[in-house]
């Protein structure tokens, strides 16, 4: 009894002391969909968090909760963070969209930042990266390098962000290789290494010699390495452990500058609700080193494509393009506007199969 009383009062004292300090520190919370060690999506968000800590040192305190399921459970986690005094909360997965809006309505003084969504409020900003720009480069390399002309694609959930990536990769693979065919498998998870590896194996067994993934772990890379003679691309993170084969390049998400800027805005009191969508040009999307497994001429073309996207002279969605059902999407020379891209819910002409609802 005495011991527990002692412990309780000690905890209370620490709590009070913590409370006293908390006022001059900006507290930044992060909600992660996978573990910080996934080697992909969540890993890079956590790198952004560490960059915030490094930038502001003692003036900032960061907290994070990992493996938070999308849906109601995330609402509980966010509420707890807000109650614990967070000033700014980053919710880093598409499925946190409605929970973020709900919790934000209850805590008008806390700022929220939701990644990859489209719902905003006075205290909710959205931010995302133009991953589809990187997908164009992947598609180009994939189309050039495939020998079986079958490219496997592991999708997570059928949301615009993922569909955009499939379309962008397909358009650019088709452009350099008219015979190319995409096999798309939906894993219905962001992070489940065993399932991701199974999906990759199935695609490889069905003849794919290029596997693109839009899930978070490095498991498909391991499966491709095991199979041999299959190429992959790092997703969200460099995944350089699997270079030079099977990983021949990667899309790298660089959240650090954005996280630092937004934390600074909260400190300065200049934070406003915004919608940020940056790509290769602004540095939010990086292209990992293209390895020597890629022929030199293909590599040079890919780098030229990257440069033209970065300086804005080329848009990955440039007409003439038709939708899967044959109706017109973009006229010759026309480029897709951000609204169309953000809500993209159709395949472009040539992709087989239906998008799940």
């Amino acid at each position: 009894m005495k011991l527990s009383t002692l412990l309780a009062s000690a905890a209370l004292a620490i709590g009070l002391a913590g409370g006293a300090f908390a006022d001059d520190k900006t507290k930044v919370g992060f909600v992660f969909v996978g573990p910080v060690g996934d080697g992909g999506w969540t890993y890079e968000h956590n790198q952004g968090r560490l960059a915030v800590e490094k930038e502001f040192g003692d003036k900032v305190e960061t907290v994070f909760v990992e493996n938070v399921a999308e849906g109601p459970d995330s609402e509980r986690v966010m509420t707890q963070m807000a109650l614990d005094g967070a000033d700014l909360i980053f919710t880093t997965s598409f499925g946190y969209m409605d929970p973020t809006i709900n919790v934000a309505a209850k805590f008008p003084n806390v700022k929220f930042e939701h990644a990859t969504g489209y719902k905003r409020a006075d205290n909710v900003s959205t931010y995302s990266a133009r991953f589809y720009e990187g997908r164009a480069i992947q598609g180009h390399i994939a189309g050039k390098m495939t020998k079986s002309n079958i490219i496997g694609y592991i999708g997570s959930f059928p949301i615009p962000e993922v569909i955009r990536g499939i379309n962008s990769a397909y358009i650019h693979a088709k452009k350099v290789n008219p015979d190319v065919e995409f096999k798309i498998v939906w894993a219905y998870t962001w992070f489940d290494p065993a399932k991701e590896a199974d999906a990759a194996k199935v695609l490889i067994e069905q003849g794919a010699d290029v596997v693109l993934q839009h899930t978070d772990s490095t498991a498909p890379q391991a499966a491709a390495q095991e199979a041999g003679n299959v190429i992959t691309f790092g997703q969200a993170s460099d995944m350089a452990q699997y270079a030079p084969m099977p990983r021949v390049s990667s899309i790298i998400d660089n959240w650090a500058p954005y996280y630092i800027a937004r934390t600074k805005a909260v400190m300065d009191g200049t934070w406003t609700s915004t919608d940020t969508w940056d790509g290769i040009g602004a540095g939010m999307v990086g292209i990992g080193e293209i390895t020597d497994a890629v022929p030199a001429d293909v590599k040079a073309e890919a780098l030229a494509l990257k440069a033209s996207i970065a300086d804005g002279s080329y848009h990955p969605f440039t007409g003439p393009l038709k939708k899967q059902d044959g109706s017109d999407f973009l006229a010759d020379g026309e480029t897709a506007d951000d609204g169309t891209l953000a809500g993209m819910n159709f395949y472009v002409e040539g992709i087989t199969g239906d998008i799940p609802n």
Partner: protein
């Protein structure tokens, strides 16, 4: 749609591999529950097995030593649960959940330097000429030793529970620990051994994921298999053969739906994605229409004085 893209031989071989982690973990939990203990820490013990096995295999270069270490790691973690529930008489549900949380966190800590490493490969068992039989050879005789061990253990557990004195004692402890105690059986000791067996099996299942099915180490890589194993034990009505059937159904349909998606079959993907859960549950529920029920003492705390 192009069904010819699906190679039935590779498909069957694939689902045998996919089902094996589930078989190990669920079989261990079955024995634990038969002894009257509910251990919800399967996921935690699996992930501990996954990292202990992976690290040992990488350091020693021997996958078999890795599996041994995985079993040891899982059993060691389960001892913590045994101590909490059998010695200090803590609540089994809470202790099991705590074990899962602890296992996930501790494995992440242990595994930090093992990210992105390729483990040594476990060779296929050499069946000689059997391997060359068309179709049957690649399906049945081209796997690693652990896959066969999983099936052998299902048989062993079934024989043990049904035909041996040891199995009778284990079941007695699970049905009525007071009666078993009155007969002079050491309830706590028997349950502790069962819990350790469950831990070792879960560890093997976890290592099968990190060493063979994926093969790599990633934090949290079991991603819920432990919970599916727990559900499977209940739906299989605590019977080893049904458990094997359930695991193959689940693994098989999971593999099949990925294959069908790849082949572009015109079934809505949503239905394909939920089919493993629904079909496995349906089949096992229909099978359990007989009067099989949970061990009567399941989840109840035992103390010799009470």
């Amino acid at each position: 749609m192009d069904l010819s893209a699906i190679n039935p031989v590779l498909f069957v071989a694939g689902f045998l591999v996919a089902a094996t982690p589930l078989i190990f973990a669920a079989l261990g939990e079955l024995v634990v529950e038969k002894s009257g203990v509910l251990n919800l820490g399967v996921e935690g013990m699996m992930i501990m097995g996954a990292i202990c096995g992976f690290a040992t295999a990488v350091e020693t270069g021997s996958p078999m030593l890795g599996f041994a270490a995985a079993a040891a790691g899982g059993a060691l973690l389960s001892l913590l649960f045994a101590f909490l529930t059998q010695i200090t008489l803590a609540n089994q549900v809470a202790s099991g959940l705590a074990l899962t949380l602890f296992g996930l966190g501790f494995s992440a800590l242990l595994g930090q330097s093992y990210v992105g490493i390729k483990p040594p490969r476990l060779a296929e068992v050499n069946f000689g000429p059997l391997h060359d039989i068309p179709v049957l050879g690649p399906v049945l005789f081209s796997h690693d030793i652990m896959l066969y061990l999983g099936i052998a253990m299902v048989i062993a557990v079934w024989v043990m529970l049904k035909f041996t004195r040891a199995g009778l004692i284990l079941r007695a402890v699970g049905e009525s620990h007071d009666a078993a105690h009155a007969l002079g059986y050491k309830v706590v000791r028997i349950r502790t051994l069962a819990i350790m067996f469950g831990g070792a099996c879960a560890g093997l299942g976890g290592a099968y994921i990190s060493l063979i099915r994926v093969p790599q180490w990633t934090e949290g890589m079991t991603a819920g298999v432990g919970w599916i194993a727990l559900a499977l034990v209940v739906f299989a009505s605590w019977k080893p053969w049904r458990l094997l059937l359930g695991a193959y159904l689940f693994g098989g349909i999971t593999q099949l739906q990925l294959n069908l998606q790849g082949a572009g079959v015109a079934i809505p993907v949503e239905y394909l994605a939920m089919s493993p859960y629904i079909i496995t549950i349906l089949v096992l529920v229909v099978l359990s229409a007989d009067k099989s029920s949970a061990p009567a003492s399941l989840g109840r705390t035992f103390h010799a004085s009470s």
